[in-house]
Subunit: 332 residues, 2 copies
């Protein structure tokens, strides 16, 4: 696969996807269309066209590759590809409001650019357009619908984690983390894969691909967590150690604490302090306690599980395999 | 129809609807379920059960009555009834954030009770649950999907109206108002009626019922506007003249200005002032210029148009007719 972008879709898919996405958004009220174009990375805040950063379009790639993997033309899964990309944009718009994140892909978050009310409504509009893509496709729509529920459930769980302690009664377990990530991140990957094969004419494989996508999502989220602590700020667009500073319940930290050694004990004392030295010290302790390594190993295990489904049911899906690998080897 | 509530559903429908709504919401994360229960009027902010105010459940009533009108049992349209009520709750939750309305049905708005982030996510959850009701029903899902798009388009138009002048170049025309109301208010009534007959086994009537519901929505919104100026605050739960004070582009005022007489000229001078005397004076001028009367007449015309569809295609739908009438005769 000739990737324009690490983990991204090839130029061939971009030629299919981009016009379909733009056509979907074009039905909106002019104000909604302008804000949606900003959210999709097509325009600046003042409406001027931007080129070259429509994001990774990973979820559409999964949908299109899944259709091809069952012998159908990529086009057959285009409505699903458009739908999952629109849902992804919806979720980013709303998550940034919820998390008060001011930056997204090195630019203002949608709510920073246009205000909370407009950003909320633009998110709703993107979701409505997504649903309309598959409204008359009962072989695919239930997977999109299930992903929407997974998305809100995962987001609810993630928000509830914030109020729970790092350790002791009520602590967040690794299993709970995996369940949250499977929903919040995996649901949409799962819908892309399942709807992709269903629209490609192999609905009997859709439930398997759904499970594959959820596993992939857990791996993807763990890699995100690793990058959220140790990723290059210039590449990720987030400050170094940002997830540690905000005390987010991420897998490397949970795994470090669960290791129970000396570094884990020290780590539990230093968590919560937000000065630069403490945060840097915490990051070192997470590594010493084996949190980074364990996170990496867990991500690999989930990817292996996802690849196992492909091996069993779609052994010739080489491009899809390559995409799965690229998700855990990415640097942003 | 034995109404518990003006414009509301009979006890018979409540027995069908309420358990189905509660079952739908029960799948949510406990935090989401708690907030959804508040939004639906089932619980106080601290989670204690409340009785007797699940709202008017007007949209579900339209779905259930529409199925019965084509000779099917009401139960056949239950997924649509649940879906439209959930979408309605979603839209109220998000609209209150957008409009910064602090009160809803004499209680705190959802965002006042739980914060913007939680209210936004609860709205998303209600929408996801709504979509799941009809995800595998391709005869009904496209109408729900179309209503979601109408809803956001209408809300976008309504927000854009705020920035436009009352008169002169760029003024909001009565036709634009009707189009906004047909989307924002009519879309969901239209989906209820169309999905109701489709699930009741008469999909060939669904497009007609869609048009019927949009007309009904315009009438409903005009009556809302009338109540927003002259409604009894104890009944509507809003302060007297509230829509005039907030300079909302409502039909009585637009119609008064369009009349072009002496009162209209005076009105255009006094609009924008928010002191008590000016607002009271503006309300009087809207009446003098015939705005209230013209709004009423326009609402009646849209209801007649809606009833015309019933006369032609479902002449025996007496309960549905009665419900349509009750929408424009309501006092809250």
């Amino acid at each position: 696969m000739n990737l324009n972008h690490p983990g991204g879709v090839s130029a061939r898919y971009r030629r299919l996807l981009d016009p379909a996405l733009r056509e979907a958004v074009s039905v909106l009220h002019p104000d909604g269309a302008r804000m949606a174009a900003f959210a999709m990375g097509w325009a600046d805040v003042d409406g001027r066209a931007r080129f070259g950063d429509g994001g990774k379009a990973l979820r559409p790639a999964i949908a299109l590759l899944s259709a091809e993997a069952v012998g159908a033309p990529a086009e057959s899964a285009l409505p699903a590809a458009v739908a999952v990309e629109l849902v992804h944009a919806f979720s980013l718009a709303h998550d940034d409001i919820i998390d008060r994140d001011e930056l997204r892909r090195h630019r203002d978050a949608l709510w920073k650019a246009y205000g909370v009310g407009h950003a909320l409504l633009t998110g709703d509009a993107l979701l409505a357009l997504a649903v309309s893509q598959l409204a008359d496709r009962p072989e695919a729509m239930p997977y999109l619908s299930a992903a929407l529920i997974e998305l809100v459930q995962g987001q609810s769980a993630d928000m509830a984690f914030e109020d729970r302690p790092w350790q002791g009664p009520g602590e967040v377990t690794l299993d709970e983390y995996a369940e949250m990530a499977a929903g919040k991140t995996g649901g949409l990957l799962a819908a892309a894969a399942a709807a992709g094969v269903a629209l490609g004419g192999a609905p009997e494989l859709a439930d398997r691909m759904w499970g594959m996508g959820r596993d992939l999502g857990v791996a993807f989220q763990i890699v995100d967590d690793i990058l959220g602590i140790w990723g290059d700020p210039l590449v990720t667009g987030k400050p170094v150690y940002s997830d540690l500073r905000s005390e987010k319940k991420t897998l490397p930290v949970l795994a470090a604490l669960a290791s129970g050694g000396q570094a884990a004990h020290e780590l539990s004392d230093v968590l919560g302090a937000t000065d630069e030295d403490s945060v840097r010290h915490a990051a070192r302790l997470v590594e010493e306690a084996g949190g980074r390594e364990r996170a990496r190993a867990l991500a690999d295990r989930y990817v292996s599980s996802a690849l196992g489904v492909l091996d069993e049911f779609l052994p010739d899906a080489h491009e899809l395999r390559a995409l799965c690998h690229s998700l855990v080897d990415r640097v942003n």
